[in-house]
Every structure is written in structure tokens, then in C-alpha cells.
């Protein structure tokens, strides 16, 4: 049987710039190929060119899709193929479904294009497809719009949408990125079912750990080129290329605390941390926090302790109340019950004026730091503002301090005159960290600080956070949906489920011997390499 996809020296150019440079691979039925690389490596462009949607100038020595020569295919022929023989699952389920149309109609659109089924027939088929991906109450859900569905339902809808035309090739473009572990498991499971049903699956991801479970072969892409390709086992265990090794090293799961994930040599010597002395006063004590919004109880009786110089990992899936907890701790939301104490001092609930003197002890980092920067400020002004407690934004006297902060987070001081918008995701997060460090806080609340970053960038930021903790002894409340990140970063772990903390303890204990049913299900879903 000949391969369904055959690509030899495929190049895609935009305005003379090659985004994909002489890429070759093939894919047969019942097989899964993973294309791995960080953002900008050209993997998504490669995927889209397989559907004739790259938008750039495509050239190839050989480029055949289902036996047809794709270099000579007309737009009509492509349309015949899309959604019918080749389907695609896009990254963000919320964005990939038209928010103004019922999801059932979105799915049925593919049938409209490729079949002459009547409306009731189409509805029946859509329902079947939704049943096939285990969507509860499909007849009702298909009439809803994507914003009315939960994240898991959306993912299922997205898969159903790709499957409705019964395609022979399915391309999953970052289909698991930024999903919590249970959703990731769900998508992987669906893709595995496709593969087992004899479809060819092309998986695009930046995370080697995720593709490892499913891919038969892996191709690692960097700057438009495939730098290494081979069987999964070979790529993971006997990587040939330095870049592949970097990617592998960046995977945090199973890596002990403070062991660097990135290659960049740490600037300060690693000092083994003394085990926390219980006699010392805890940095942060949270007791019985509750908060409801209307009838919805976001947080119920949450309590935990962050010891000085240590990290508490707060883990749970989206919607479990993690972010509300962070906001309660930061005093941005007034709790219904409970209290927050900072180094023994009463911090929340409290009037803002009375706790302002405590503010310099606690800082925050968000998932998307850009929103927390004043858009009018450049990098230097942002840090000056933070250093001067808002009294100045361009004082010359702060110049050296600004440079020192930038160096501390491994940013080039020359970036000082740039606008944060011009920085990359990793650089922005470093800037956010630098700003949070300006008042020399003793506690940092980090809310999903690396969730929007590629694994390789995530590794450098996590290493930075490790280093800073060792240098400054700052305590972290580290919030993430990603178990492997939590495992790597935390001394103690608290697991949150539907607003309550269901289990907490030393990281090794929780990960080694989970007590709660929910924790166990989370851990089962967690992709592991090591």
C-alpha cells in the first residue's frame, strides 16, 4: 500500500522568506507521525500546506496527497479534498469554532460541502459523530454555541467536526496545547482511536512528552528544516541532534527540584537548600478561604501553608478555583470566610490602606503578563515605575537598578527602550518577573506563569525561577494545571478540585502515593517520558 502523504523537499516561502525549507516525510494509513518544534519552526505552515492553505509559495520535488499530485491541484480539487479525505483539528477549540453559530451547524458544514444529504440526514450524521466522541446529550448540545460548552465538550466537538467526512488523513495542529492533563488525555485517546481505525494521523506539537505516547515516528523541526527524524523510540532515547536533546531536557516531569531544564548555565552556583526548619514562621498561611460568585461557589474552605523559601504547587484543572484562590491571597478579592496571613501579619480580609505596608512583601506573576503592563510604558519605564513605587517612570537615578533587574532575569539591558509588545512571550514573562522582584518581595504568587510558553522556553523560565528562589529565598505559591511542571517546581503540593483542596502534602508523597480519587485520575492522565 502506498503512503497517503508523500512529501519530498517541500518548501514554503512568504515574500521570499522560506518558512519551510526542503522538508521530506511520508505518512501511511494507520500510522502516526509527529512534527515537533517550537513556535515559528514552520510546523504549522507545513501542516497547512498539506491542505493547500499555507497561503505562501509552495514548491516540492514530490508532493502527493492520497496519490494525487498536490503541486498541480486546482482550488476546487483542494476543496474536494479538505474535510473529506484530509481533515484538520485546530489548536484552540474556543477560537476554532465560530462563536456565533451552533456547533451542530459548524459540523454539518463539511457535509454540506461534500455530500448531497438532506437536512435531517445531516442532522442525524452530526449526532452520530458527536456520539462517537462521547459528547453527552448530543442532540441538545449541537444546538448550542461553542461559548456555551465546556472546554472538554468543545474539544470533542472539534474532533467530531474533523471526523464527520470520514477522512483518511487527520492533522492535529497543537490539538493538546494549553489543555489540562485530563483534556489532553481525552484528545490523545481520540487520536489513538483514529489511528487504530486505520487513519493516518499527523500530530503537530511543541511537546515531545505528549507526542511520545502516540507517535510511531517523530520529525523534529527547527527554523523550517527537519533536523532529525526517526522512530519514536530512537528519537526519544537515542537523540542524534543537539536540538532534540534540548527539547528532551526541557521536559520537567520527573526532573528533581533545582536541576536545570535548559542548557544555559546558571549564573549563580547551585547552593543546596537547607530543608525547611519547621520552627521558622511560615511565609503565607491561608485558612478556610471561601468565595462565592452568586450561587457559584468558586472556592470552598481552602487552607494551606507556604513555608519560607519553599514552593507550594497548587494544581487542578481549569475552573477548579485556582485563580480565585490566587486573587484571594493577593487581596484582590474579598473572601467570604477565612483569612490570609503574611509572615504572621493579618493580610486579608483587610482594608487596603491598612495592609498597603505589607504589599511590598508579596508579588504576582500572571499567565499573560502583557495585560498587566501599562501599554504606554516601555520596558525601562515599567521597571522604573516599579522601583520608584509609582513616583517616576523615567528617573535617571534608577537606570543602574533597572539594568541590574534586567540582568537578574537574563534580559539584555538594551531592551530597556523597547515596548513590551515587541518582546517574545518568554521575554515578557521575564520582564514580569523582573517587575515583581523590584520591591524585593518575600512571597511570589505565580498564576500559570509558563502555560502560554513552548516547552523549551518554559524550561528557561522555570530555571530562572529556581535560580531566583535559591538566590533570594523567595517563597512561591505556584499555580498550574500542568502536573509535570508542579512536580518539578514544588516542595509541597495542594490539589484543587471544584473549589476545594482535596489533597495536599509533600510533592513526592502526593505524586508517589496519591490518596484522593481525583488526584489518582489526574496522575493517570499525565503524560510521562521518564
Amino acid at each position: 500500500m502506498s503512503p497517503l502523504l508523500e512529501v519530498e523537499n517541500l518548501s514554503v516561502g512568504f515574500a521570499g522568506q522560506l518558512a519551510v525549507d526542503s522538508v521530506s516525510f511520508e505518512l501511511s494509513a494507520g500510522e502516526c507521525l509527529a512534527l515537533v518544534g517550537e513556535s515559528g519552526s514552520g510546523k504549522s505552515v507545513t501542516a497547512r500546506s498539506l491542505l493547500g492553505l499555507s497561503g505562501g509559495k509552495v514548491s516540492a520535488e514530490k508532493f502527493s496527497v492520497l496519490g494525487q499530485d498536490a503541486t498541480a491541484m486546482s482550488e476546487r480539487a483542494w476543496q474536494q479534498m479538505r474535510g473529506n479525505s484530509v481533515a484538520m483539528i485546530l489548536q484552540d477549540a474556543l477560537m476554532a469554532l465560530d462563536p456565533l453559530r451552533p456547533v451542530g451547524r459548524e459540523i454539518a458544514d463539511a457535509l454540506k460541502e461534500h455530500s448531497s444529504l438532506s437536512k435531517p440526514e445531516r442532522t442525524a450524521k452530526v449526532r452520530e459523530a458527536l456520539e462517537a466522541v462521547d459528547l453527552p446529550e448530543p442532540a441538545w448540545r449541537m444546538k448550542q454555541r461553542s461559548s456555551q460548552l465546556s472546554g472538554g465538550m468543545r474539544q470533542r466537538v472539534l474532533i467530531a467536526q474533523a471526523m464527520i467526512g470520514d477522512p483518511q488523513v487527520v492533522i492535529a495542529d497543537e490539538a493538546t496545547t494549553a489543555l489540562d492533563s485530563r483534556l489532553t488525555a481525552l484528545v490523545l485517546e481520540q487520536l489513538r482511536a483514529l489511528k487504530n481505525a486505520g487513519r493516518a494521523v499527523l500530530m503537530i506539537s511543541h511537546d515531545l512528552a505528549q507526542v511520545a505516547q502516540l507517535a510511531d515516528r517523530i520529525a523534529v523541526m527547527r527554523a523550517g528544516k527537519i533536523v532529525e527524524a526517526g522512530d519514536t523510540d530512537q528519537v526519544l532515547n537515542r537523540p542524534q541532534h543537539e536540538y532534540t536533546r534540548t527539547l528532551l531536557r526541557a521536559i520537567p516531569s520527573g526532573v528533581p527540584r533545582f536541576q536545570p531544564l535548559s542548557l544555559a548555565p546558571p549564573k549563580a552556583a547551585v547552593v543546596a537548600q537547607e530543608p525547611a526548619k519547621p520552627a521558622r514562621m511560615p511565609a503565607l498561611v491561608v485558612e478556610d478561604l471561601s468565595k462565592s460568585f452568586g450561587k457559584h461557589a468558586a472556592v470552598q474552605g481552602a487552607g494551606f501553608v507556604v513555608q519560607q523559601g519553599q514552593t507550594l504547587g497548587l494544581v487542578g484543572e481549569s475552573g477548579s478555583g485556582k485563580t480565585t484562590t490566587a486573587r484571594l491571597v493577593l487581596g484582590l478579592e474579598r473572601p467570604d470566610t477565612g483569612s490570609v496571613r503574611l509572615f504572621g501579619e493579618h493580610f486579608a480580609p483587610q482594608r487596603e490602606a491598612q495592609r498597603r505596608y505589607l504589599r511590598e512583601n508579596i508579588g504576582a506573576i500572571y499567565q499573560n503578563p502583557l495585560g498587566s503592563f501599562d501599554p504606554r510604558y516601555n520596558v525601562g519605564q515599567l521597571l522604573t515605575d516599579a522601583l520608584s513605587a509609582g513616583r517616576s517612570k523615567r528617573g535617571a537615578s534608577y537606570r543602574t537598578q533597572v539594568s541590574r533587574l534586567l540582568e537578574q532575569v537574563e534580559l539584555d539591558p538594551a531592551l530597556g527602550s523597547r515596548n513590551p509588545r515587541e518582546l517574545s512571550g518568554g521575554q515578557r514573562q521575564r520582564l514580569a518577573i523582573a517587575r515583581a522582584l523590584a520591591p524585593r518581595p518575600k512571597v511570589l504568587v505565580l498564576d500559570e506563569p509558563v502555560s502560554a510558553l513552548d516547552v523549551s522556553i518554559q524550561a528557561t523560565v522555570l530555571d530562572l525561577l529556581d535560580r531566583l528562589q535559591q538566590e533570594t529565598g523567595t517563597s512561591y505559591l505556584f499555580i498550574s494545571h500542568d502536573l509535570s511542571v508542579i512536580e518539578h517546581m514544588s516542595d509541597t503540593v495542594a490539589v484543587m478540585y471544584r473549589g476545594s483542596i482535596v489533597e495536599q502534602g509533600a510533592t513526592a508523597d502526593v505524586f508517589g502515593d496519591p490518596q484522593h480519587e481525583y488526584t489518582r485520575s489526574l496522575l493517570t492522565a499525565m503524560p510521562r517520558l521518564r
Binding site: 491542505l51 479538505r82 474535510g83 469554532l97 465560530d98 462563536p99 456565533l100 453559530r101 459548524e106 458544514d109
Partner: protein, 308 residues
Amino acid sequence: MLAWLGRKVGGALVVLWLVATAIFIGVRLIPGDPAEAIMGGPGSQASAEALAAARSEYGLDLPLITQYLMFLAKLIRLDFGTSYALKDPVLQVIAEVLPPTITLALISLAAAWLLSLIFAMLAMRATRAGQCVGNAVEIIAAAVPHFWLGAVLIMLFSSMLGWFPAVDNGTGAGLVLPVLTLALPLAGFLTQLMRDSLSTALGSQFALAARTRGESRLTVFWRHGLRHAALPALGLTGWAFSSLLSGAVVVEAIFARPGLGRSLLSAVLSRDIPMVTGIALFSALVYIVVMALTEAIERLIDPAGAES
């Protein structure tokens, strides 16, 4: 749904009450004899009997609060009084002139939508230079005053080319120039708005997803782009309708069309306060109804967005 309707009706009543109160205060602020003001101002030459009649009808010799309550009570009974200039009940006059204005405004609104849709579609396919020209045309169209455009259109299409009648003649052809006069500037605004949301929608993930399903560019435009382009434009419908009513004052004068605007203008010129009051309240009512309708349509298109 019922709760929503209740809220709307309640809100509308409050707004109407506020407008009525403002008018009541406004009339009392006119210097001089309020009876004379109601009867058409200093030059009305209203007879002593007429002034006395007005005084008793509006209770002008009673305390202010009583007058105010009387005024409101009359409004509740839909009694807007008698136009002193036309000698007819205000309500009857409004009933006559409201339909032509609403018709004109609705047709112009539809025309503006259609024009901006065509513009937006053309802009999508246009080259860079074409986009620049389109941009300029939109901005200029949005900046053209109605009264000037109307005069120029009459000169071009009626006097010179003889394609369309210059004044209303009760046929569809008579509507062409007034509608164009109202629709072109509005289309300039709407196009600016639509193009932005259209390009956002067509560059979005769901548009890409639609293409991966095998939909053609055009299908994506119709199924997805249009809805998203329509939403912000729809949100502006209230404003657009209100600006059309404003424009109608001018257009009705130029094209000799009967309507609310022309009635208001002549009522203002003759200081016909009962008429002015009635028209102001009715145009507010029309605005409220239009707003409620567009909100209902928005809820239909985007139930999630409307609730948030």
C-alpha cells in the same frame, strides 16, 4: 424572555418620562408668558381668549407641581394637545407623518447596509491601491453633509440626467435620491466598521477551520464573515437610525417629502410647542423600539454575547 421584555418596557417608560420632564422644564424656561409660548411665541398674535384657554388647558395658574402632574397625566392618556398651528390633535398629525419618515429611514438603513456590504466585499478583493481609494471614499462619504449631497444628487440625477425625480411623487423612483442622500454617508461609517470586523473574522481560527472543512472563500464569507461583520454594525443600528431621523429633517425639506422631520421643522419655526413636544416624545419612542428590536436580533445572532 419575559423578564427581558419587562425590563425593556420599564426602561423605556423611564426614558420617556425623563424626556417629557425635560420638555416640561424647557417650556417653562422660555422667558415670558408660558401661555404665549405654548401658543406660538411672541409673534403668534394669539387672542386674549386663546391665551386664557391655553392657561386653563395647561393649568398655568396652578402650582408648578400640579401643572407637571397634569402634563404627565395627559401624556399617559396619549393626549398631546392640539397643534395650535395646524388646529389638529397632535397625535393625529403624528400618525400621518410618522409612517413616511419611518419608511424612508428603514429603506435608507437597508440601503446603507447593502452599500456597505458591497463596499466591504470590494475592499476584500481590492489591491493595496484600491484599498487606499476605498478608504478615502469611505471617509469622504461619511463626512459629506446630507443637505449638500441632496442638492448635488438632484442636480446630477434629476436636472442633468433626468434619471430620477427631484421630489417625492409617491412612486418608488421618487425615493431613490432621498434614500441615497441618507444612505451614502451612513454607508461610509458602516463600511469602516464592517471592514475591520470582517478582516478580523476572516483572519480568525474559525475561518481557517471552515476552510479546512472544504468551504470556499466565498462560503466562508457568507457563513462566517458576514455574521461577525454584521454584529458591530448591528450594535450601531440605534445610533444609525437616530442619525437617519436627524437627516430626515434635512432630506424631507430638500425633497419635499412629508414626514416627521418636516413637521418638526415647521413646528419649531412656528413655535408650535404641543407639536414639538409630541414629535420629540414620539421620536424617542421610535428610537427605543428600534433599540429593543436590534437587541432582540443581536440576541438571535449572538445569545452568549447579549447576556454578558
